[in-house]
Every structure is written in structure tokens, then in C-alpha cells.
């Protein structure tokens, strides 16, 4: 039983962070109808930002969040004005491959600068500590703190999107760009803002993730695919959808743990021979495929 509860708790915690990862993708998609393949690379940059800031200044890695947010915002805005703005004029094929080019560029630039080794944080107030929730369930403190901070960041962005004038202008641009332009909303600046907020949210998630996840330049594509699965499940362009879908995908990633529990509980030998841990992410890809085919709008989607 403790294996099962442990897996579920771990799933919820990782799901909260994944929701923040997917939030950026869904905002950008909602406002601009463009799929950003470089999303995971933004996360990778966030992870490096968190790591290097913590190492350089000696502050706790959890406090590097504002720095990561700044870097992410700038990165998003620079990408928009420098590249995406020109890309959206072309057909969809060009958009897809263009953001792929951006992904390759960021990834290999990171490889050039940071090298290909795995890097992880070793110092920090919470690193190495853990809470015992009883019944043998132990939660690492870093994961718990990262999950809580990610929920706070998520809420802040949700408030920004729903309770401010800028957020309303963003939503208007998402619903009807031409109409918004007639109403005097600077849609070009709104697109840049969407990229900025999207970038900031994902780099914050990266800075949180680096507390318990080692980083290398190739970490991005995995999270890009996870984010796609979450956004597909939650509905492209839906912010609350991203949160709940994040939790669900977090659970899907814990299927190997649940499988372990079932193996133990049912005591069937063949189940122990299935290499479940190597198929951890396969379920996420499979989930994307099944969700898209069965319900293309996702659970909360409003955009077709």
C-alpha cells in the first residue's frame, strides 16, 4: 500500500510542476496558434539559470525563481521579435520547422557552452531532507517545496491573465486577433507578451525542477513531449485545463510505481519481468496519441 500512496503523491507533486511547464505552451498556442517545439529548450535554459545562479551567488536554489523568470521573459520576447514574428507570415510547414530550428539552435548552443555532462545541485537548505507522511510514505522536501512554489506561480499567472487589463487584452487577441486590432489593442505587442509570459513560466518551472532533476543540454525534448501531452489533454489554449491535465500526466508518469504495487499485491511473476521503468515516458506519448484521436479538443478546450 505504501508503494501505491507513495507513487500517487509523487505523481501529484511532479504533476504540479509539469502543469507550470505546460502553461507557457498553452498560452503561446492560445494567443498565436503556433506550436513551439523549442519549449523544452526554454525549460532547459531555466534549469541552467537556476543551477548557475545558485552556484554563483550561493543563495538557495529555490530563491532563484525571479532570476529565472526574468531570463525566461527576455528569452521569449527576444525570440518573438527576432524570429517568430517573421515565421508566422509563412505557411504552417515553415512554422513547425522554424521552431524546430530554434530548438536545435538553443540545444546545441547550450551544448557548446555547458558541455554534455549531467549537472545537478548539491547544496541547498532543503536538499537531502524529507518529510515522513506516515505509512512509510516519504516525500523529499525539495519536491514538495518546488510543487508548492509552482502552484503559486501558476496562480499568479492565472490572475495576471484573468484579473488585469493586460490579461484581458491577451485573451481578446487569442479569441480574434483582427477584432482585437480594430479595438486598438496592439496585437503585435500582445504576441510578444504571450511569448514573454510563456517563456517566464517555463523557465520558472525549470528552476524548480533543477532542485531534484539533473540537467544536460538534451533534457528538453522529453519535456516538450510531456508538455504537448498535457496541453492536448487539457485542451489547446486552456489555462485551467493545463493544471488538471498536468496532474493527470504526473500520474501517468507514475504508472511504473503503480505497476510495482500491482505486481506486489497480485503476486504474478510475469508482471515483474516487464521493464516498466524504461517505458515510463512511453505512456505519456501514448496518452497524447489516444487523447488527440478520441477527443481532439481536450478536456477543457475551447479552440478547434
Amino acid at each position: 500500500m505504501d508503494i501505491l500512496i507513495g507513487s500517487l503523491v509523487a505523481g501529484v507533486l511532479i504533476g504540479m510542476i509539469l502543469a507550470l511547464v505546460a502553461l507557457g505552451l498553452t498560452i503561446i498556442f492560445g494567443v498565436m496558434d503556433i506550436v513551439n517545439f523549442a519549449h523544452g529548450e526554454f525549460l532547459m535554459i531555466g534549469m541552467y539559470t537556476g543551477l548557475l545562479t545558485a552556484q554563483a551567488t550561493g543563495i538557495d536554489p529555490l530563491l532563484t525563481l525571479p532570476v529565472a523568470a526574468m531570463v525566461g521573459f527576455l528569452l521569449g520576447v527576444i525570440c518573438y521579435y527576432g524570429f517568430i514574428k517573421y515565421l508566422v507570415r509563412g505557411p504552417m510547414v515553415a512554422q513547425l520547422l522554424g521552431t524546430f530550428g530554434l530548438m536545435l539552435f538553443l540545444r546545441n548552443l547550450a551544448l557548446l557552452i555547458f558541455g554534455s555532462e549531467d549537472q545537478a545541485l548539491h547544496r541547498g537548505i532543503l536538499i537531502g531532507k524529507s518529510f515522513d507522511l506516515g505509512m512509510g510514505v516519504i516525500v523529499p522536501a525539495t519536491k514538495l517545496a518546488a510543487a508548492l512554489l509552482s502552484v503559486i506561480a501558476f496562480l499568479a499567472i492565472w490572475l495576471l491573465m484573468n484579473r488585469t487589463k493586460t490579461g484581458k487584452a491577451l485573451t481578446a487577441t487569442a479569441l480574434n486577433a483582427r477584432g482585437a486590432r480594430y479595438m486598438g489593442i496592439p496585437t503585435d505587442r500582445m504576441n510578444a507578451l504571450a511569448w514573454g509570459i510563456g517563456g517566464a513560466s517555463v523557465t520558472m518551472a525549470g528552476a524548480l525542477l533543477v532542485n531534484f532533476w539533473s540537467v544536460n543540454p538534451f533534457v528538453g525534448i522529453l519535456f516538450t513531449m510531456i508538455a504537448f501531452a498535457i496541453v492536448a489533454l487539457g485542451g489547446f489554449g486552456s489555462v485551467p485545463g493545463a493544471f488538471f491535465a498536468g496532474l493527470v500526466v504526473g500520474m501517468i508518469m507514475e504508472i511504473p510505481g503503480i505497476w510495482d504495487f500491482l505486481t506486489y499485491a497480485l503476486n504474478w511473476d510475469w508482471m515483474a519481468n516487464v521493464p516498466m521503468t524504461s517505458l515510463k515516458y512511453t505512456f505519456v506519448y501514448l496518452a497524447y496519441f489516444i487523447i488527440m484521436v478520441l477527443r481532439p479538443r481536450g478536456l477543457f478546450g475551447w479552440k478547434r
Binding site: 515553415a94 513547425l96 520547422l97 530550428g101 530548438m103 536545435l104 551544448l111 554534455s116 524504461s278
Partner: protein, 335 residues
């Protein structure tokens, strides 16, 4: 007979194009007779392989406008079929290759049916997802060597073995893949003026219009997807015999899928020569950049950075690729 004639009929191209293509064809035929380095030979074989990959992608991605980013899974199916049959039961290439094509096409029908309910971005990401699922499954499947992959050890065979396609010299491989290359060009040339080719272009331009004209859009896409799959799977089988060492990551990974799509895009999707031009530009660039820059200490990745910049520039400035530029220049001259 009629279809065969249409495959050899290049009369709708300008005479200049045909003469340039002829010169290039003759150059490709006689290239190995001149003295060349092993590196140049390997690059040429890579170029031909990726041209055929690109031609396959071009049928569905270029003429059909369906951006498929999961072609590598069929490379993997072809490569694994050939390698497994050769290693386990000593079945020659020329039997295992058609079998691989059949398996790949069967798989393409199975996943193509649900896939083509999706459009645009959703379709593109879903193709990546299916490809990654298959790659993960092959990485844990013990029968095909799991993550270690399979290795065809050439010691067991007598050189040159035309049945099993095991050669010591690259020149034999070169002529085999060159044969596939020419067959591929002729097929695509026939395809683009076949009934299906016209149907597909009308689907790309306006799907609702196409279906209102009585075209079965879903079925036309699935059929073309299977054709594209066959191209890719054949070269996948060839890849197994040529490289002799196949791993899930190399043969089915995302990078390969992207490269295939990119080549056709860069050259000009939806034109006969596009994928070939794209491969002719990107493959030498990639291998020479890697040889010059990647080898230098501390510069790992710089070749791919330059590569990525080219992709970004092309997609932002001239989305229709190099062939698009050529056509633009031509149109300007006529006016």
C-alpha cells in the same frame, strides 16, 4: 503501360531543367570511377539515401501538405526486418526488403487511420508521438536486441554478396542506392501526374473543396502515407545492410524524422527536384561541418548550431525552399 510511360515523361519541365538533371544523372553514374576519398563516397551514399527518404516524405508532406514528423519509425521497421531476418534465418536482402515494406505499410495503415483524423499541428505532433512509442518499445524488446540494437557481423559472408548486400567496398552500395534513387525519381514523376497526385494537391490547397468534389480525403491521405512509408522502409533496409549496426536511437529517433522532413522542406516541398536539392545542400554541409568543426576540441555542437541557423533563416525568409527561390527568379525573368 500508360503509367510506366508517364513515369518517363519529363516533357512538362523546361528544357534547361532536363539538361541539368541529365548532366547530374551522368555525373552520379560516373562519380565512383574518378578517384575519390572514402569520406566523399560515404557522403554521396548518405546524400542518395536522404534523397530517397525526402522523395518519400515529399509525396505526403509536399504534395499532400501533411507534415509528417514520424518517418523514422518506418526506417526502423525496414532496418529491423532486414537485420533480424538476416541474422536469425539468413534470409537475403532482396526477400527481406519487400517483407519490410509490407510490414511498414501494414503499420502505416493501422496508425494512419486514426492519425489522419487530425490536422495541421496536431497531426505533426501525433506522428512524433507514435514514432517515439515505437522507438521505446524497440528499446525494451529483447528479441531485437533491446537498447543495444543489432549488429550484422560481415565476417560470416563472402564478399561481395549481392543477395545479402554485404560488400567490403562502398562502390557496390553506391550503385545499389543509386538504382533506388532513379527508380524513386521515376515513381514520383509518375505519381505527381497520377489521379492520386492531383487529388492530393487539391487536398493540400483546400480540403473542404476537395471533399465536395467527391474525393475521399481520408483514404487518399492514407494511401499516400503508405506510399511514403514504402520509400522510407526500402532505404531503411538498405541502411541495415550498409551501416551493419542498428540501434533504436539512430534508426528510429526523432532527429532522423526531422532531418527527413527538413531536407524536403529546404529544397522545396511539393516539387520533384526539391528533396534532392535539399539533400544535396544539407548532407555535405552536415558531414563537412562536422568533420571540420566538430572534431576541434571544445566545439562539439557548433556544426548543429550553424545548421539550425540555416533552418531558421530558410523557414522565416523563404518558406518554399530553394526551389521556391528558383521559381521566383524565373517568374521575374518571364515578365
Amino acid at each position: 503501360m500508360e503509367t510506366l510511360k508517364s513515369a518517363f515523361d519529363f516533357s512538362d519541365f523546361p528544357r534547361l531543367d532536363i539538361s541539368i538533371a541529365g548532366i547530374i544523372a551522368i555525373f552520379l553514374l560516373v562519380f565512383p570511377l574518378f578517384s575519390h576519398s572514402a569520406f566523399a563516397m560515404a557522403t554521396m551514399i548518405q546524400f542518395l539515401m536522404f534523397s530517397v527518404y525526402g522523395m518519400g516524405w515529399n509525396t505526403i508532406g509536399g504534395y499532400g501538405g501533411q507534415v509528417d514528423l514520424g518517418k523514422a519509425q518506418y526506417v526502423g521497421i525496414g532496418a529491423y526486418t532486414t537485420a533480424v531476418l538476416l541474422i536469425r534465418w539468413n534470409i537475403p536482402f532482396w526477400f527481406s526488403m519487400p517483407l519490410g515494406v509490407c510490414l511498414a505499410m501494414a503499420w502505416s495503415f493501422i496508425i494512419g487511420y486514426p492519425l489522419f483524423r487530425l490536422k495541421g499541428h496536431y497531426f505533426a505532433i501525433a506522428t512524433i508521438a507514435t514514432s517515439l512509442v515505437l522507438m521505446d518499445l524497440f528499446s525494451v524488446w529483447e528479441f531485437v536486441g533491446a537498447a543495444r540494437g543489432l549488429e550484422i557481423s560481415p565476417i560470416k559472408y563472402h564478399y561481395p554478396d549481392f543477395w545479402r548486400l554485404i560488400f567490403k567496398k562502398d562502390i557496390y552500395y553506391y550503385y545499389v542506392i543509386l538504382g533506388f534513387f532513379f527508380v524513386g525519381i521515376l515513381y514520383v514523376n509518375g505519381f505527381r501526374r497520377s489521379r492520386l497526385g492531383f487529388q492530393l494537391r487539391s487536398i493540400r490547397d483546400n480540403e473542404e473543396m476537395a471533399s465536395s468534389l467527391g474525393i475521399n480525403v481520408h483514404w487518399a491521405k492514407i494511401k499516400t502515407y503508405a506510399i511514403a512509408t514504402a520509400f522510407v522502409s526500402v532505404v531503411g533496409s538498405f541502411h541495415a545492410c550498409y551501416i551493419k549496426n542498428i540501434e533504436p536511437q539512430d534508426t528510429m529517433g526523432l532527429d532522423l524524422s526531422i532531418l527527413i522532413a527538413l531536407m524536403a522542406m529546404l529544397g522545396g516541398a511539393g516539387s520533384l527536384w526539391g528533396p534532392i536539392i535539399g539533400a544535396a545542400v544539407l548532407i555535405p554541409l552536415k558531414s563537412y561541418l562536422k568533420a571540420w568543426l566538430g572534431g576541434a576540441a571544445g566545439l562539439a555542437g557548433i556544426d548543429l548550431v550553424i545548421y539550425a541557423v540555416i533552418i531558421m533563416l530558410i523557414s522565416a525568409l523563404e518558406p518554399r525552399g530553394i526551389w521556391g527561390i528558383v521559381e521566383k527568379v524565373r517568374r521575374r525573368r518571364w515578365q
